[in-house]
């Protein structure tokens, strides 16, 4: 194996133009900038409605240097399936040179993927289209004003899981989107995080080299939705990994590889206290979240066959 990638190994060429209307410190903006670096130029991007779509394509500007297709909210995976199938047919009929590599990537937010888009996603994964689906997960419907989604974590405040006498933020747990993808027996799934860009670049590149349906789940801190100062995006993204709230890993043909091992974890409190959306949490609720994380870490370690994520340091 060659040496690990560093940020200097990433292409200097920008494929995601600045000047978009995303918020200062937007995690998704960092993700898009570096995802596009890893995509071949002949890649068609199919984008669901969401923050990234709205803020990157305001007339007369666009941030996208790839061919780019905006589709409705629930159907990025279905639209991408159509594009991919059409390319296949065009090649078969000799309209496209057989050697011409045209790739398809679908991008959606957590709402457009975990909730309303899951039917289309399941269809795409099941039919086996050669598509990389990337979900940028900011853990709520941020574009419409911070309503909870199936990706909102336990305890988080949103406008539809308010904090008051009756409710105390979200009381359900986040859906396991990787588990859902794996249930379709896909060849490659991975998680990426904007604080670990060489890892992200390597995973997107690898996904593009694999035939068949792939899913990448991207951690996407959101300044207005998570209630923190814009300067803290990377701090929070890093802290998510250091506390085990987020684990960077990939599963290729059933084999799990944790790409960011954490020998000693920090308590989840360190992650939660950076964000206003968790400010109401009681010690008991924080302990519950710690328990959820401990369970997930134990599960990942079991799959890895060794302790890649360590215990919480005292």
């Amino acid at each position: 194996m060659s040496r690990a990638l560093t940020i200097r190994d990433l292409p200097r060429e920008e494929r995601f133009a600045p000047g978009h209307r995303m918020c200062q410190g937007c995690g998704a903006a960092i993700l898009m900038r570096h995802i596009t670096k890893a995509l071949p130029k002949d890649t068609i991007i199919v984008q669901a409605t969401g923050c990234v779509e709205v803020t990157t394509t305001l007339y007369p500007e666009t941030s996208w240097m790839n061919p780019w297709l905006h589709i409705a909210f629930e159907n990025a995976a279905a639209g991408a399936s159509g594009v991919e199938a059409a390319i296949k047919v065009l090649k078969k009929k000799g309209q496209l040179p057989p050697g011409k590599e045209v790739r398809v990537v679908a991008i959606g937010g957590d709402g457009g993927t975990f909730d309303i888009g899951i039917q289309a996603l399941s269809g795409m994964l099941e039919r086996g289209h050669d598509i990389l689906y990337i979900v940028y997960d900011n853990e709520a419907y941020m574009n419409t004003g911070i309503q909870r989604s199936g990706a909102t974590p336990f305890g988080a405040w949103t406008t539809t899981t308010p904090v008051g006498k009756v409710w105390h933020g979200e009381w359900r747990r986040k859906k396991d989107i990787i588990g859902i993808a794996l249930a379709h027996r896909v060849p490659y799934v991975a998680t990426v995080n904007p604080a670990y860009l060489p890892d992200l670049y390597a995973k997107v590149s690898k996904a593009m080299s694999i035939k068949g349906p792939k899913l990448i789940h991207a951690f996407s801190p959101c300044v207005p939705g998570w209630r923190y100062e814009p300067a803290l995006t990377i701090t929070i993204a890093k802290m998510a990994v250091q506390t085990g709230m987020w684990i960077n890993y990939e599963i290729e043909n059933g084999v799990l590889n944790v790409t960011t091992p954490v020998p000693k974890r920090k308590p989840v409190r360190e992650y939660l206290k950076l964000q206003g959306r968790f400010r109401h949490l009681t010690d008991e609720e924080i302990n519950t979240i710690q328990k959820f994380v401990d369970e997930q870490v134990a599960y990942i370690n079991k799959l890895a066959g060794k302790e890649v994520i360590g215990p919480v340091e005292a």
Binding site: E74, T144, R148, T161, P162
Partner: protein, 374 residues
């Protein structure tokens, strides 16, 4: 009554609470989301439930379910979400399920301009689902009316056992005005009719003389069958012409026969007019200002504002149109309500003024549009 300074969206939420709504299912969509957000805080305090579903299809179907469980229920959305709800809207029609759907219109087609206003869902809300039916549609022009018409929407839904649409738009949604909110007992609240016959004699779709069957919900001791196929009075699937005609005619006529109480208009600047502006919703605010400007310059213009877009009472419209030399249908779309006005008036008198604005149309645009024809 108490006075409160609230937005149109909050007025809809408050109107629903006054009318007795205790179950809200929804999915985020601009510019309707704050109805759900407001209710997420308010409803749990008074024993109600707000559930956010995974999409609009699930939301309206949950509302159908909740209504059959005996609770007044509502969902709120905008054009794209409404499109997803159309199948279940037809289900609510044939199963005669009382419910209210709020459509806060935004510019389309498709994602359109989510944050900007429009009145282009006029056809979708009335005719979007397949099959034969008439759904009552009310269109408020102020926060107060958003409150009042939401209560009316529930009363109609409950008394006629039908889905009812409240057709608002992005301007009304975010318009803050003083609204008089009713205390319990201060406004009429109608609840669905319950069966009086013993359970073994109950036929779930046998109408009374008013064409509306009493509605037993789950858990009340009656055999309830909720059937989306064409059914007879027992609720059993029938594929013969007689049962089909009976059912479809009845669900259409139970609404049409109430057109007198359902159809409401308001006229401004009295009987003495030569030119009649016809408008509804937020655009009517500009049309009223336009009529005022025209009057000041000596042109006898009046405004007729429709509060109900379905069912329409053409005789009423005709009465107003007959007095006018020219009729201008002012709407923020490519011209939709104009087709109905053309049916009511002599065709050559009716002029369409489609504004297709993303903001509330400016009165001067309407004045200019009218002047061209004088």
């Amino acid at each position: 009554m108490r006075k409160s300074f609230i937005s149109g969206n909050i007025a809809i939420a408050e109107g629903a609470i006054t009318a007795g709504m205790r179950f809200f299912a929804g999915y985020p969509i601009t510019p309707a989301s704050d109805i759900m957000e407001y209710l997420a805080e308010r409803l749990p305090e008074i024993g109600g439930v707000v559930t956010q579903f995974e999409d609009e299809i699930a939301s309206i179907n949950a509302v159908v379910g909740a209504s059959w469980a005996g609770v007044k229920s509502m969902t709120a959305t905008s054009g794209p979400g409404f499109s997803l709800m159309l199948e279940a809207l037809g289900l609510a029609v044939i199963t005669e399920t009382p419910l209210v759907v709020v459509d806060v219109m935004r510019a389309g087609p498709s994602t359109g301009v989510p944050t900007k206003t429009s009145q282009s869902d006029v056809m979708q809300v009335r005719y979007g689902a397949h099959g034969d039916y008439v759904i009552p549609v009310f269109a408020p022009w102020s926060a107060q009316e958003a409150y009042d018409l939401t209560i009316k929407a529930f009363n109609v839904a409950e008394s006629l056992r039908t889905p009812v649409i409240l057709l608002s738009d992005a301007v009304i949604a975010h318009l803050w005005e003083s609204v008089l909110l009713a205390e319990p007992g201060e406004v009429e609240v109608i609840n669905r009719k319950k069966p009086s016959s013993p359970p073994d004699e109950y036929l779930p779709y046998k109408p009374d003389n008013d064409l509306v069957p009493p509605m037993a919900t789950f858990g009340e001791g009656y055999n309830v069958i909720v059937e989306s196929l064409i059914h007879d009075e027992r609720g059993f699937y029938r594929q013969d012409r007689e049962a089909y005609r009976n059912l479809v005619k009845r669900i259409v006529n139970k609404v049409l026969s109430r057109v007198d109480s359902l159809f409401e208009v308001e006229a401004y600047y009295g009987d003495d007019y030569k030119y009649l502006l016809v408008s509804f919703g937020s655009t009517a605010r500009s049309a009223l200002a336009a009529a005022r400007i025209l009057r000041k310059s000596g042109i006898k213009a009046s405004l007729l504002r429709l509060k109900t877009l379905s069912p329409l009472k053409l005789e009423t419209l005709r009465k107003y149109c007959d007095e006018a030399e020219k009729i201008f249908v002012v709407e923020n779309n490519m011209g939709k309500l104009v087709h109905d006005v053309e049916r009511a008036a002599e065709n050559d008198k009716v002029i369409s003024l489609p504004l297709l604005d993303l903001e509330i149309p400016e009165p001067k645009d309407i004045v200019e549009g009218v002047r061209k024809w004088l």
